[in-house]
Amino acid sequence: MELDSLYQEVILDHYKHPLNKGLSEKYGVQVHHINPSCGDEITLNLSIEAGIVKSITWDGVGCSISQASVSIVSDLLINKTLEQAGSITDVFVELMHSKGMKEGDPTILEDAVALAGVSKFPARIKCALLGWMAFKDAAVRIKQLKESENRGSN
């Protein structure tokens, strides 16, 4: 059934056994994102070292799609440069807007290709994007923070 393309096993797995859930004590930046239409909320901590993502931890409430998606983000983007993480995010966003016409490249997106079915359910795309948008926001802020630190130390 169509529903199975939305709720793939790997998604329900991430939902039931989320990765990196529980906020780290130390972090570079912390962001809080809300999905105003449904009330899903996540807080995400991001740490980087020399431009490479070292840690993403998070906590939140929401549906299986939003929670699985942020679990996937927190695993997939570790040890990527901010630039790589940004382009992976772009690939994922494009997949979400594909209206079910794309399968997604598993060599880039890994577990996130399991979310491809979400693109057929317009009301759920924002659920799948919540964690990615939080990461994107955190990445922008941490970059600004590092730049201002660098300016300060000069």
Partner: protein, 412 residues
Amino acid sequence: MSLDVATIRKDFPIFNRTVRDGKKLIYLDSGATSQKPNSVIEAEGDFYRFHNAAVHRGAHQLAEEATDAYESARSKVASFLGAKAEEIVFTKGATESLNLIAYAMGNAPSGSRFAITPKDRIVVTEMEHHANLIPWQQLAARTGAQLSWFDVLPNGRLDLSSIHTVITENTKVVALTHQSNVLGTINPLDAIVARAHEVGAVVVLDACQSVPHMPIDVKTLGVDFLVFSGHKAIGPTGVGVLWSSVLEDLPPFLFGGSMIENVTMESATWAPAPKRFEAGVPNMAQAVGLGAAIDYLNTIGMEKIHQHELQLTKYFLEQLQKVPTLKIIGPTDLDLRGSCISFTVGQIHPHDLGQYLDSQGLAVRTGHHCAWPLTRKLGVPATTRASLYLYNQEEECDLLVNAIVNAQKYFA
């Protein structure tokens, strides 16, 4: 005495279609918007087909017919509420009606009974829809007045024990919902109205979830303002109603054509109510459609609709509570309770449950239902809501219960 639901459903063409690969549509989302009978769809279409012209203007036959149709819709709304035609203002929706009241009060000159100053208090409740909360938050922010509210108890009822400390001598307005769109709770009004009037405050009633579902007589309620939306009462979208017995003292909100008495380059004076509050060419076809909706509801009979929904709500509450881990969020008895039924099911997130139900043809609402402070207070991030109307029937409850049980297996 009971409703002939099978016959009623034939009047609503949407029930002829299927959803999600041939599934029968089970529509349990009338709290968000109701479906429309043919007579309403035709009345709106016929206005455009045969009578379309700008009302209250133009020296031609069509303008005359359009004005007649529009004003006759106003009279229908008035008698539906036990009110006078000049007490009825058409807006584009209940949200606009509530904003109209809040902005008009904000425009009131000092000395007016409606003028709000930093010394005044505005009272709402914790169970308000955002549309009856944010306009008052904003009015308080603009005027420096204090915003206070009645708490909601864990049983889904208002805590009225604090009525004398919440509605104080300096309270100017008490705005509350008649029936919660989340909990189904119907708020008792007598004590609140009496206390508000004792201190000289006006009572604004959000009746979006009550007017479509039960007989309403504004004189019996004793409130000063009542609003509802057409589309939740089997009428078209884009039309709402503001009723008030104190419109004459209220300054306008929107300015423009039609709402004036006299205009010079320097200034203007206002037409009497209700025209003072209907600037611009109004939503004529939608008002006429709402008139047809009221005709339809009157033909069935509001008391019969109310009794039908009570019976149905009783059955839904009984059957739903048999489902393991299902928890009703709101009153579980029928005393002062309407047909919006919110619930949670174990650890299944409402969006996931709603998605599963949708795959079975069941349309429900999930989320915070535009009452975020309420769901926060109740400690649930979101709920699933089934909301009923005259075209719903017991077998739909059985299908809902069955689908919830299957969803539990699916997400186990």
